[in-house]
Symmetry: D2
Subunit: 407 residues, 4 copies
């Protein structure tokens, strides 16, 4: 039966002018990093609901992440966060990861939880605080080298709550100084991904508030600095795929933090509030990948780091992470079914209705047979969540008790 469905799918796509084999190859290469903090307890400012069995240390976080990789085959690396994942011996953490078939992914400095950072870290008017924050950034570069990671992923929580609270331009200059020092410590093959966020935890101004500020900072630093787009960090209504296309064209799109949000949160499971947006983002990336007239754009698109940045407050941690990977695969798979030749033709003919429909038609395809086929070829279960739930892992980790690591 499953075969019949796949054959039907292939036939439909062939009629639509789509090369399914190519789509399968692309899908197999899609790797999405999960964050170590996504396996611990989390919550809102009102309440952190503690779960049974959450990991008690960085090593257990990697064990949980290994389950996501085991059942999806699409999540071979894990982002770490310092100091949440601080260990005495990073080579041990690296070995632990590798023994689980994982790599240590992006290293995320934490510039928001020290008491001194209340009014800013690298933008604090107090030089000592800035020094402490820069030292932490440099420490993270060292850790990245130790764990074999090529990426420093920087979210700067700095900002102010009130007009007048601080000198915005001075803070900008302090920030640039700090990032310059950090940048200069990177090895040549390393990258500094600069995130931006419209607001929160600061509520009047955020020092890196939008893609323009992150991009401009990256441009000043040099080619190893790129922009990281977190899907939940924009004003309402923002056309995120436009920003993606723009950054690709400027060869400065470094990575993504996937998640979803309807209002102002950034921790919902990717694609649960507006799946079409994720699909359209992938469409822009695929358009760049096939743009042979611009090899530098292609190159940028090829090395994008895909990362999940979610902290599931009400969902079971590991299944929520698996679901996130599956969703990302689903909407990537759909974007792979766009008939680009037809689209270019309709655009050339300025046929608005047809061009719109060509894109949305791909979104309407049921990609279950395609994903099943890919999973079969990758030797992972057809229904990864079901397989995980039946594996007994959740029962096994109950021994960890309640009150494990939280971020």
């Amino acid at each position: 039966m499953s075969d019949a469905r796949y054959q039907m799918f292939e036939e439909i796509q062939r009629e639509r002018g789509i090369n399914v084999e190519e789509a399968k190859q692309m899908l197999k290469k899609l790797a999405v990093e999960t964050p170590s903090w996504g396996y611990g307890d989390s919550g809102t400012r009102f309440k952190v609901f503690q779960k049974e069995g959450v990991p008690r240390n960085p090593f257990e976080k990697f064990e949980d992440a290994a389950q996501v990789q085991k059942y999806t085959g699409a999540s071979p690396s894990v982002a770490i966060h310092i100091p949440w994942d601080k260990v005495e011996d990073y080579s041990q953490l690296r070995q632990h990861a590798e023994s689980l078939g994982l790599k240590v992914g992006a290293v995320n400095p934490n510039l928001f939880q020290e008491p001194e950072y209340m009014l800013g870290s690298i933008t604090n008017s107090n030089k000592k605080v800035r020094r402490k924050a820069i030292d932490h950034l440099l420490e993270c570069v060292d850790i990245a080298k130790e764990v074999g990671s090529e990426i420093i992923s920087l979210w700067l929580a700095d900002g102010t709550n009130y007009p007048g609270q601080a000198d915005i331009r001075k803070r900008k200059n302090w920030m640039e100084e700090a990032l310059r020092e950090t940048y200069d410590k990177l090895d040549d093959h390393m990258r500094l991904l600069i995130e931006y966020k419209f607001f929160e935890p600061a509520f009047y101004h955020t020092d890196l508030a939008d893609w323009g500020m992150a991009y401009n900072t990256a441009m000043k630093l040099g080619p190893k600095a790129e922009v990281l787009v977190d899907l939940g960090h924009h004003p309402q209504g923002t056309n995120v795929e436009h920003i993606v296309a723009y950054l690709l064209d400027e060869k400065r799109l470094g990575g993504f933090h996937f998640n979803a949000r309807k209002y102002a949160d950034d921790d919902l499971i990717a694609a649960t509030t507006n799946p079409y947006e994720l699909f359209l983002i992938f469409s822009q990336i695929l358009s760049a990948l096939r743009d042979e007239d611009h090899p530098e754009v292609q190159k940028t698109a090829r090395r994008i780091s895909y990362m999940i940045d979610q902290s599931h407050n009400i969902e079971p941690k590991i299944p929520a992470m698996i679901r996130s990977i599956l969703n990302i695969q689903t909407y990537y798979a759909k974007a792979l079914l766009i008939n680009w030749d037809e689209l270019v033709k309709a655009q050339g003919e300025q046929d608005v209705l047809r061009a719109e429909n060509i894109v949305r038609e791909a979104f309407e395809q049921d990609v279950t047979p395609l994903l099943n086929a890919v999973r079969e070829e990758m030797n992972v279960p057809q229904d990864p969540i079901k397989a995980f739930l039946e594996s007994g892992y959740l029962e096994k980790i109950r021994v960890r008790g309640i009150g494990g690591a939280s971020w």
Copy 2:
């Protein structure tokens, strides 16, 4: 000098057609409740910055609140929150309050911090959880009677994070049942204030999402139920003063939670991001107060409960609360300087430019002399923050140490 300034102020206002004496009387009557939780530690989901000297128990919170009353004379009551302010003997708490010259204000049930409430309290699909939540509401009515409070102030944090997560209409009906039971327990002179919030901590849907839902619920319950407007709980762009006018006209505006926000927070000090909005809200209330054609509207406007609902994450707690009171007085004072006869005339002549300007002209008045005069007559310091900072109170409470109560 101060006298000269006041005389000049009075002369200017007399020329503008304003009765300053009346404004002074109105100002003296303005009472704004502060929340007990505003004196404890608070923060964002990323970090609670602990402060030295925060109160260790409900009694100390009242002592801090008494300072605000001492230096402003405009804050004679304190809202409590159960179970944060749970004590063995509420008559003792009441006596403590009274001994400090304070009254216990609105009683706020907490329906969001029990582990069982993760997926809802009075809207939870589990009947036992709903029962527990209703019992808590009933307990709060009892507490209100014990402490001599007339107000139950309900913020319902219930909601869902994902489409499909729950049956929205069933939850609505469970909510109405729970509030019916609570309402029926109120004494005749008591009121149930129903708050609404656009989102957070739920991120897909909030069971009481907007004023329309709060209002409709109040209408179904009966005349003792009214709507509470929290300034920070609306979608971007919302005309809050329009909602205020609308609810006044329907005689269902029960109270306010004052605060400010630029994006999605609701804890910034009132009037720090858009002071004109607070002024315009007061303008609608003053318009209602003087509407002799509609005595029921006047009556509603007269008994509005003004409450602050802020948790200052980066500011010193007591000074921030004093500043909030001062700001509210300032923008209320300005609204008192609108020349209503001129405004009605300009509106009648459909002179858009003049009408707009009449309102904003009042906003442009410097009300310092007026507020100073009022403070003098009320026997409180001209500069309440300075007086408080010089009083030595902050030094005195240092003994409390770090790690007091947090919400």
Copy 3:
């Protein structure tokens, strides 16, 4: 081949627990009204781009609408707008419609294009202007009776641009008076649908700004008054399906104006910016339709009026309208594939991840075979747009020239 696809579809749905035959019956009954103004020229405040062949009068608008019905079979009625569709003899218009196989749908009064309405129509402080506006409303009730329409669909463009410009509460009362007079003229089988809009063309306050105001007005008027939800008239982030569920539960959801928007427009083709939202709205309606415990809710859901309210500025008019119908059918069809029993079970077990997925899984189905089967049974083409484009109609109407009717 088509048969094989349908069989495969049916098999997949059977496995999922879905009764396809029932879905087909539901789909056949879906009727979506198109607006006469959607066939004429339209634009933004910056430019109206004139198209060749747009209708020159109400009769030609019905002829164009008949094409939409001919090729979709799902659009049997046409909303009219007075005075845009003013004719000397409305019985003639009705006969013309019927001769084309159409019915005259909702009658839409225009309260925004007379010079006198610059500062308000039924809320104008000038009594003569209010009288003129009310008379227009009453005239529209008469027209509705003449053309055999049961629906008056009211969008009130009234509002103000500046604080102070007008007395908000007085305007509210004038509005209620005007609608009372209109309501009282309705025959028993008629309905007054009250629309709301967050802003535009007024930019400070809109007299009917949100669902709460429209609902409260309907409640005061009586059972023949209901709320109309226009998908493009909400603040950013609003959970429209929540409002839909709420109004259904209160038995006051009267109808929809379908369209799409990303920012603040309300004229984009339905489902082109966030198709999941339209699907979720239909989900709430289907949930109500099968709610046998609440027959009044079911009854409300059954008689909802589905209407398109779009003015296509850059697209060819008739194809854009056909596409809109197709999109609405597509996302309705997907909502019909939700497995409600499974959903209720997952909700009961508080399995957030599963419940979310059950809903989105239906959205992921490819409904092409279903829609093709329905179209076959309805004797309309499989590809309505292609069939229309090949029909020669567009060539035929070129004779109308440029400069036809615009709204």
Copy 4:
């Protein structure tokens, strides 16, 4: 009396540490350009309300603008818009302006009203359309040279309404090519101001959507290209003063389009919805002006072009423009009363409450005596609107009739 008020004002400011004389000098130098299109009829997409006496041609627009200058002394130049202000002989227009004591200000190309521009002008996939649009840009540079203007002020209305409608990156490149050609034609002393807009008239994506895109384009073009900030063109919640500070620090802030908006309009009178925002923007500019450590930042701040971009739909045109000038002066005057030394001190001590208050305290000053003194010294009336209304000008222009120029 007026003298007494001014003396009191000066005394208060002296006590506050403010040099009033300096503030007066700054105020006298403030020049705000008005737009020619602001004197003609305008409206929303729903209705253009025609006014009596609006100018019938560019010459009459300058005559009206001369009234604004006559009564305010602060509006010595007028922006023109091509082709709305197309004349046969631009030297004649220039002479007419000069004879009225005016200069021709920024030249604004129109890239949105030709039928060919429906799907884009300089980003249109049709090369001929792009050529036509570029030629128009070049023509505008020529016109600027003829009329003696140094500024080309570019608002690009280009964008798309639907996903897939066009290739976003191709459009970006076409845009850059067109602006390169335009830029290269500028004389050395000329500037190209690049505006951005979040949305409208395009509703899916705008080719220059935010400050980041405008800034990046300016950076690529060269030092004669700068960013223009229109206050009404941002997502809700955007911290505009942050963008202003950022662009100042990068020496790329070229000018402003002043106006106000609460939702998505950009034509309301400046400072009528949130006057504090305008004040905070001026605060950032004043901070830059006095930043002696960064002379290039100072230089940028000194040459900012202040322009109004409003089209008053319901207000009388000339009085609305005078009111706009007065408002801008008012909030600029308030920003001049910030005690910078105190602010820097409070910021340095990280005293959040004090720093916030120092800024808002300046906002609370009543600047009427200051503005009156300045007007006296500038030989313009104390109450410019009253003086204008009494001048008989409005009666005089009634002869123009109804149906003059509209934009």
